[in-house]
């Protein structure tokens, strides 16, 4: 009886691993293709699917791989380094400001009873359902009237007060911050700002970490905002520059793939490094949110 059972279990397990491996290959192949294509010359791009054929190890022409595309990317006229700095600047400023603004508002909604609180909460919930595309056209005209077109602030300011952030931080505060701790510190004479900075934020640390990453990623990958607001090439981030590169250098695939790799790699690495922070924050919110 026992051997038969184990045999059946392992056949089932093998099938599961087989399906998972196939799915892994399907997921990984486009990413592998992106990396390999970035290091191939135009001729090799047309000549081989993945690695160029040759006499090297595994029948691959390793010596034919080239970093020429990257050199071209980082030198004029493309000069993608500038776009990268713009992306880093926009994403960092947005994530830090957005996290502080949402954390302080969410914290206040959870901790204090004050006039207007109920209205503020109702507005936050109601605003969660506004579909962002509805605001594209009126925002553009409004930014024009405010004189914020073609400025970094025209991209940053509309992105640093997302209502779902306030909602997340309010929930996290309710669940992880005992009011009694605040009361005790208050009796010791601490003022409200120092309560938030020295007790509130540290207790909310997992959510702060997760939200920093979420907002950073969202701005790094944001296209519509910079595309309609930033007209000067010197201000445009990677998302816009890669799109423009695609339309103007359409035939040079190696260059296009290298540019895409350069745009995707930093956030992938960042995510891998901060993965635990990210997952802890999200699961903490989800489990306690039940």
């Amino acid at each position: 009886m026992m051997p038969r059972l184990t045999a059946r279990v392992s056949v089932g397990a093998l099938a599961v691993y087989a399906v998972l491996l196939i799915a892994s290959v399907v997921v990984a192949v486009p990413l592998f293709y992106l990396v390999v294509s970035s290091f191939k010359s135009e001729a090799d791009f047309l000549d081989s699917v993945f690695l160029p054929k040759g006499d090297g190890l595994f029948g691959v022409g390793w010596e034919r791989l080239t970093t020429e595309q990257f050199r071209e990317l980082f030198s004029p006229p493309i000069g993608i380094g500038r776009a990268m700095l713009n992306s880093i600047f926009l994403a960092s400023v947005t994530s830090v400001l957005g996290t502080l603004i949402c954390a302080s508002a969410g914290y206040a909604l959870a901790v204090y009873r004050f006039r207007g609180r109920a209205a503020a909460e109702w507005i936050v919930i109601a605003a969660l359902v506004i579909p962002p595309p509805l605001l594209i056209a009126p925002s553009y005209r409004w930014l024009y009237q405010l004189g914020l077109l073609d400025s970094y602030w025209g991209v940053i300011l509309p992105a640093v007060a997302p209502v779902f952030g306030v909602y997340l931080f309010k929930q996290a505060t309710v669940q992880s911050l005992p009011r009694s701790i605040l009361e005790a510190a208050r009796l010791d004479g601490a003022n409200e700002l120092s309560l938030f900075l020295s007790i509130g934020l540290p207790m909310l640390r997992p959510m702060v970490g997760a939200f920093l990453i979420i907002t950073f990623l969202a701005m790094w990958n944001n296209f519509i905002g910079p595309q309609i607001v930033l007209q000067s090439a010197s201000k445009q981030p990677l998302s816009v520059v890669i799109y423009l590169t695609q339309t103007s250098y359409y035939a040079d695939y190696g260059l296009l793939m290298a540019g895409t790799l350069v745009s995707v790699l930093p956030v992938m690495v960042l995510f891998l490094l901060l993965q635990r922070e990210f997952i802890t924050g999200l699961t903490a919110g989800a489990v306690k949110g039940e």
């Binding site: 997921v27 486009p30 506004i130 009126p138 519509i224 998302s239 745009s263 699961t283 989800a286």
Partner: protein
Amino acid sequence: MSVRRASVGLAPWCFVAPFAVLFVLFTLIPLVQSVPLSLSHTFGPSASLPVGLEKFASALDDPRFWVALRNTFLFAAGSVFIQLPVSLALALLLNRRRLVGRGVFRLLFFSPQLVGLVFAGVLASVIFQKQRGLVNMALAAFVEPWHDLVAGGRLEAWIPSPTEMLALPWLETLALPALILTALWMYAGFNMIYFLAALQNVSRDQLESAMLDGAGPIRRFWHVTLPAIQPVAVFVVLLSIIGSFQLFELPYVMLPEGVGLQDRGLTIVTYLFKSGFEAGDLGYAAAIGWMLAIILAGFAIAQRLVSREGALR
């Protein structure tokens, strides 16, 4: 109560103020302005002329609007009926006890979600090309032995040749399937995370007693697992529909002219964007935005009704 209120002073308002100011400036004001804007004819951002409901009327008369609506519906259907079952299947596989490498699989399946839509669109535009594209070359390699096998025989007409496979126009006439496949690659692993979380609510005891009662895997899934994950599943379906209806960057970057051949890949938001920023008619863009909002509100109400019915039962 009054003592504490006195002690915290203006602090609560100070904490909420930055958010409140930015929310009013960059969400509330554009939202309110979208109403008069949708009732105007505009010439760029500076000049406008009130025209009443004309923009809404012309959208309903506009064949391109209907094409965009149809394509977006089909894409959403692809997300719900193809992508979500894949997500659920992956979650069920990863949910097995004593699975080696669960964390690695989960991370790998999730990772395409980190690739921004613009960058995924650029990658897809290369992978889905005719002749040199990875997808067509793989399909050609797949059919080649079968085609050779039946060459000259009666079955030849039924099995496509490698040449035909290399010529598949994914970015042109097959724009919708290409978009659905790209979105599948990007989001299947993301939705899998929701299903994985939901599967933790499935009772092992119930599964085991169903097994002892002789229920096979399909019946166990249907009668034990599915009811337990139903609330999350309904929520994921709604999120998936809402997300699908906002599809823009992917087709805009991936397809020729952002729409594919004969508007085969034109979506509602692409049309909104093109109307506002290429044709310069911000009023029309705002009207399309309102129609999108109304459609999404319809789905949200339907979801409410479905989950209430589920709760009553």
